[in-house]
Amino acid sequence: MIYSERKNKNFLKDRIVLFVIANVLSIILLNAQSTRVQGIVTDNKTSEPLPGISIVLKGTTQGTISGFDGTFVIDSEIGSLLVFSYLGYKTKEIKVTSSTLKVTMNKSAESLDEIVLIGYGSTKKKDLTGSVTRVTEKDFQQGFVTNAEQLIANKIPGVQITPISGRPGAGSSFLIRGGASLGASNNPLFVIDGNPIGLADGPGILSALNPEDIASFSVLKDAAAAAIYGSRGSNGVILITTKKGRSDELKVFLSTKTSISQNFLTQSVLTGDQFRNVAQSAESVSGTSILNNLGAENTDWQDEIFQNAFTTETSFGISGGIKNLPYRLSLGYLDQDGTLKTGNFKRTTATLNVNPTLFEGHLKINLNLKGILQDQRIANNDAIYTATSFDPTQPVLDENSPFGGYWQYTDFADNPAVLRHYNPVGMLEQVQDRKKNLRSIGNLQLDYKFHFLPDLSVNLNTGYDIAESSWTYFAPADYFPANISNGGNSSGDPGSKTENVFLEATLNYTHEIKSIKSKVDALAGYSYNDFKTTNYFYPSFDVDGNLQAGSEPNFDFDIPQNTLISYFGRLIYTFDEKYILTGSIRTDGSSRFSENNRWGVFPSVSGAWKISEEPFLENSETISNLKLRLGYGVTGQQEGIGNYGYIPIYNLGEAYIQYPIGNGFVQGVYPTATDRNRKWEQSTTFNIGLDWGLFDNRISGSFEVYLKETEDLLNNVSIPSGTDFANNITKNIGSLENRGFEIKIDAAPIQSKNFTWNLGLNYGYNENEVTSLSEDNDSSVGLFSGRILVNTVGFQRNTFYLYKQVYDANGNPIEDQMADFNQDGTINEEDRYRSESAVPRHNIGFNTSFNYKKLTLNMAFHSNLGHYIFFKPNDNLASIYDGIFRGNVNTDYFDTQFTQSGNANQEFSDHYLQNASFLKMDNFSLNYNLGNIINSKNHSDLNLSASVQNVFILTAFDGGDPESPYNYGSNFGGNYTAPRTFSLGVNFNF
């Protein structure tokens, strides 16, 4: 009741305001001879008023947009036709019969009228010419999602989203279509409500957002779509919109979720008993005494460092309108424990969106403000690897230990830095490493449609991304590694400050020429982006506040900064609503290149043919949608290469090295390696896409084939010693080709009153090939990434380059025996061969939902095939005897029986290369919608949900999570893997 009263009051006020405005405008603008038609548009089912409906007088360019309360005023004539259209609704034509109109609109079954964001604008899904995938709220991953990217993980073909760590707040890595780069960044560009986030931060922004605030993702995959972002579009663009308020309805939502997470993947290492047993062999192999140094325990260190971790999240939001000022305000609070003990992440978010429309729709204002406070205690990741290698015969706690009661290798008490192997539980519990980050992201968009030329509009968009971080570190004096430095107590406030700003201005011109069935959309724009961070440096102190020797920094701060300036234009030409041609061009100037190489030009052309609208298909019962898309475009890359790499400069050496010369001390200064000729990495993409829908789009999908050629690849490569001041430098080294195709199928096999069944399948295939290397040489091995991955012309990027292991009759590897491939009698690097690539070829995502009355069951799976990992655990007795501590070994030792240290070739054996193809069940969730529990009509609903994430992994890989990140193709089993999470949630909207 309260609600409707308010509505009526607003309605009246709106009417008055609108009336005044409309009158004024009509006097100024419109032909006085026409009839003024007033009306209201509502949804035919819910009877809710619909704002934002486009109303056009058919055959003209005259039109308006319905107000926040669904009302509109338009000047027309009796008998003329008005066309009503809106995203998600079927377009309706109404004949004007009187000066008041009541129009109801039906939701369209199909999603083709959905508005999809493209760069610097939007279009209807059916009018897209590039490869753009949109995922909205209804398709988001169900269950408890703490990081926004998990909403769309495995939902989009060709987009791999992989958690980089199980650490709370850690975020995920993104790889679109195999990635365009070798050594430069493979992160896509994120644009949040029109605010392009610095790529350096990249996916990190997503862990700063409250997933509850997000309305949709648009992923621009091909260059035809992304080229409008020029140098920032090489790895695709992800456009994110947050939810907006509508002034016609007051909505409140409240949700609370709680979950418990468990680490479910551990390395299989020896127990204390097994270790004592195996140590006897180590003793006899090495001739050293080991057994009398062992303890009597059976400690499972991996069990000791992990915990059941609780997470709670509460979000509250309110949206509506204050005097026609639509707003949405939401607050979120997340408190997440890590499965690795002591780790914790707290996130408080506040989001405000205000989007008024003034002057009868001529001026749209959109203000987005986000504030995020992240407060975390960081648990030392190194504890995980240490736990897999720490002596299992020793206890966690030792009452005689002077080091906080933790058992340690006390023989090294006076030089623990040599040992670098400490009780992993102590590493977690004794150290307090905290970081706070306060961040604000905001932008203001003004979209003004000229009164005298409504076809022309100007859009100004300006915003910022500012952040300030601080940190504290405390280790007590009895923390073993810090015992000789009297502990550590340091802090940095501020630790860093980020001040990124941007301004974009675009002019848009839209014109329809009915006589020649043509429509033109033209855009011209300018963009300025500046990324600036100030990093502050501090000395360290011991627990008594004494300065630690040699810790004074050279400088108090450093300000890395880079700037990007762009000009761009786009023209979309539509003929007969069936043939669409888009062309765009952008030029970017980047401060990361010298004046000669500073500007890059990035063009694109694409076209679409809506075959299903041709007469021969128009009335087809079977084919409801068929569209062919062709695209070509060039994008660039300048991320991941440092800000000043082209400038020869001198850096001050470490402050803790003051070399004694004569009677004084001199600090060093070193020139940096410089590639003065560094230039843009450029990708050219060809894309063919086919969108289709059958049976009124009950089954729909798309098929895409692409070819992406990246030239002047930026990569960090080994350079010949003696050529510069480093062994490695980032330079343009060659070209790479990515080829692949993607299939997406969505189907609703059952749609009955009480029961629906939906499923979605996506599949992406990608293969790549290094097509040229600028400094290729006779050996033709190519360029190494690390020590086991090589990039060779004619092969996949990052191909494993290994020896062929020799096995005995029982199929066990013979220690350090490799096949003599070239049969020259010696085993040397010439006997290594190219094996599989470290880049998986097949990515499959599958999700399905069953809905019975108020109960919904969702399941999501994904799978990578052709996925290879080089996993080398400690499988050698040498871990026990050859080293200053007695390291645990993996149970693989029982197969290998390796005993020798210093096996020169074993490290590069293909024995360690595993097919890590997998199937994961990512999510299983049950939702029960109690619906309207308070007795007002239609406006509240209560949702209960229960879900499990990371339900299972099917894989032959024995090194843990096959998607854990690894360096240069190697994995040693020390990863913080994403946990299995059980959650419960309550969602309440009214």
């Binding site: 001739g287 050293t288 005494s289 023989d411 006076d414 030089n415 830095a417 003004y448 000229f450 005298f452 030329l453 000789i484 430095s485 201005a505 300018y526 300025y528 040699g550 400088f555 890395p560 700037t563 300036i565 401060s591 500073r598 000043y644 400038i647 400069i649 001198y650 850096n651 050496g653 470490e654 803790y656 090295i657 003051q658 070399y659 004694p660 010369i661 009677n663 600090q667 060093g668 200064v669 070193y670 020139p671 080994s718 010949p720 010693s721 003696g722 050529t723 001041f725 062994n727 040489n777 006779d778 040397n828 690097e829 080293g883 200053i884 240290s901 210093g902 020169a904 070739n905 590069f908």
Partner: protein, 520 residues
């Protein structure tokens, strides 16, 4: 009216846009704390700082360059077995993929590149154009010569280890060329000509600041180079070795009184004997690539003796080394500073296991204490940094070069001087007095075998052994065997290829101009 407002609404954004166009200057960004070469080299102090940077790299004061070189020279021989590595060096069985020699190769060429850069920046006309005074310009000339000396020394190391390394010069750097490979015989000539060219340009012997090279350092390197000329070029240069070692001897150096003072924390006093040193300071130089490694590395030596923290249990000697001395303790030859731990009878002379740090004696030559036995306070948070300076050249080596070159038939010297030089070393070793007759040998005892053994006694753990054994053709052959040579306990001959280390794979792959050393 219409047109004007239209213009207005159009103009405002246009003006804003124009305003930003001027921001194209923002594309010239420069780092906050770093300098261009023009700034760095605008003062004589800037030049000096850049020169000292080369000395820092050379001394391993922030890298493992010299430590790795030291280990390649020692762990491959009878002087050191290393507990905690993979024993490829000890067993002379490394493959073409060899981390430690790769590190020396790359850091050596880094040092050379740093020197090449300094040489470009100290081109006299360039220095003059930067507004330095005449006096300052002359000082920069000295700096330049010293940097050329460092480069020559680094190339000598590269030649000794790799034979035919990458050859990068100021010319290849200036022209942005990928450097080629140089053959040992040509590199020898290059080093020789460089040293001869800078000899007159260096500061006089014993006249430079402590820690900087002078004329005597140039002579010393020439002497060492000529002594080993046959290894590098197949032709003998013993006459030249005599000439240059003599120049050093005649420059006024003398042996310190006590051999045990040589490698102590206050050994910067040893300027009578030390010709050129790497300098360390436990407060000012944080490195694990300096003398602290040799001190902490010695297996079993407790903190009370090494003056730092407890031993890293890295290095032990094979039984061949104690066998060179009359006893296992300094009672007769004071250089026999073996750490035997006999009290616990846990340490053995024999090496049954390379991984057992209790197998094999170690030595207490490097100690971070003062001559008078007083401790040196650790002014750092690690308790294991060193004040022991490392003599790159010292007089005793020059005496031994002179003697050996005379015995090998070089002219310009004589046997009696050779004997007198050797006996100074013996007198000090046996009686803490170079002029003492105790421990002296007769001319009939002075032969090449004696010299090799005496070098082992005098210069033990100073980074010479591999080069010496190669010169005597005993490194890979069966003429001389020691424990674990070739991977067997009694020792065995190995492939001659191990006289050189392999060119690193990374460089072979990155530089098309390089060829691998034979049989790798």
């Amino acid at each position: 009216m219409k047109a004007i407002s239209y213009l207005k609404t159009c103009l405002i954004p246009l003006i804003i846009i124009m305003g930003y166009i001027s921001c194209e200057d923002d594309l010239d960004r420069f780092p906050t704390n770093e300098l261009t070469n023009e700034k760095q080299f605008s003062t004589v102090d800037g030049y000096k700082q850049a020169m000292v940077s080369a000395y820092i790299q050379f001394a391993g004061a922030n890298n493992f360059f010299y430590r790795d070189f030291f280990e390649l020279q020692e762990v491959t021989t009878d002087e050191i077995v290393n507990t905690w590595n993979d024993h490829q060096e000890t067993t002379l069985s490394w493959s073409s993929e060899h981390d430690q020699s790769t590190d020396v190769y790359q850091s050596g060429l880094y040092l050379i590149t740093l020197c090449n850069n300094f040489i470009i920046e100290s081109e006299p006309s360039l220095v003059a154009s930067r507004g330095l005074t005449k006096v300052e310009q002359e000082e920069v000339e000295f700096f330049k010569s010293e940097v050329r000396f460092i480069r020559a020394y680094a190339y000598w190391m590269m030649m000794d280890l790799f034979g035919n390394p990458t050859f990068a010069t100021e010319e290849t750097l200036k022209n942005n060329e990928i450097p080629g490979q140089i053959l040992s015989v040509d590199l020898f000539k290059y080093i020789e000509s460089e040293l001869k060219e800078i000899e007159p340009l260096m500061i006089d012997a014993r006249a430079n600041e402590y820690g900087r090279a002078d004329k005597a350092a140039v002579w010393s390197l020439l002497a060492r180079l000529y002594l080993n000329a046959e290894t590098y070029t197949n032709s003998q240069k013993y006459t030249e070795a005599i000439a240059y070692s003599k120049k050093v001897v005649d420059a006024g150096y003398s042996l310190e009184q006590n051999h045990q003072w040589l490698m102590l924390g206050d050994n910067n006093q040893n300027t009578n004997e030390f010709i050129y040193t790497f300098n360390y300071d436990n407060e000012k130089v944080r490195t694990w690539g300096g003398t602290n490694t040799y001190s902490l590395g010695a297996a079993g030596v407790p903190a009370s003796i090494n003056g730092m923290s407890s031993s890293w249990n890295l290095y032990r000697v094979t039984p061949s080394i104690p066998a060179l001395f009359p006893t296992n303790d300094p009672s007769i030859d004071k250089r026999a500073v073996f750490w035997t731990e006999n009290d616990e009878s846990s340490r053995t002379l024999e090496i049954e296991s390379l991984s057992n740090s209790l197998n094999g004696y170690s030595i207490t030559k490097y100690r971070n204490i003062n001559r008078d036995g007083s401790p040196i306070q650790q002014e750092n948070t690690f308790n294991n940094l060193s004040d022991i300076d490392f003599p790159v050249f010292r007089l005793a080596e020059m005496y031994l070069i002179y003697a050996e070159a005379v015995l090998r038939g070089g002219s310009g010297g004589d046997l009696s001087t050779a004997l007198s030089h050797v006996n100074k070393i013996r007198g000090r070793a046996y009686d803490n007095n170079p002029n003492s007759a105790v421990g002296n040998i007769t001319s009939s005892e002075l032969d090449l075998d004696f010299i090799l053994d005496e070098r082992a006694r005098e210069l033990m753990w100073e980074g010479f052994r591999r080069t010496d054994l190669i010169r005597y053709n005993r490194f890979t052959t069966s003429d001389y065997l020691w424990a674990w040579k070739g991977g067997v306990k009694d020792g065995t001959a190995v492939d001659e290829k191990f006289r050189l280390f392999p060119i690193p794979i990374t460089d072979l792959l990155a530089n098309p101009n390089l060829k691998q050393n034979p049989r790798y």
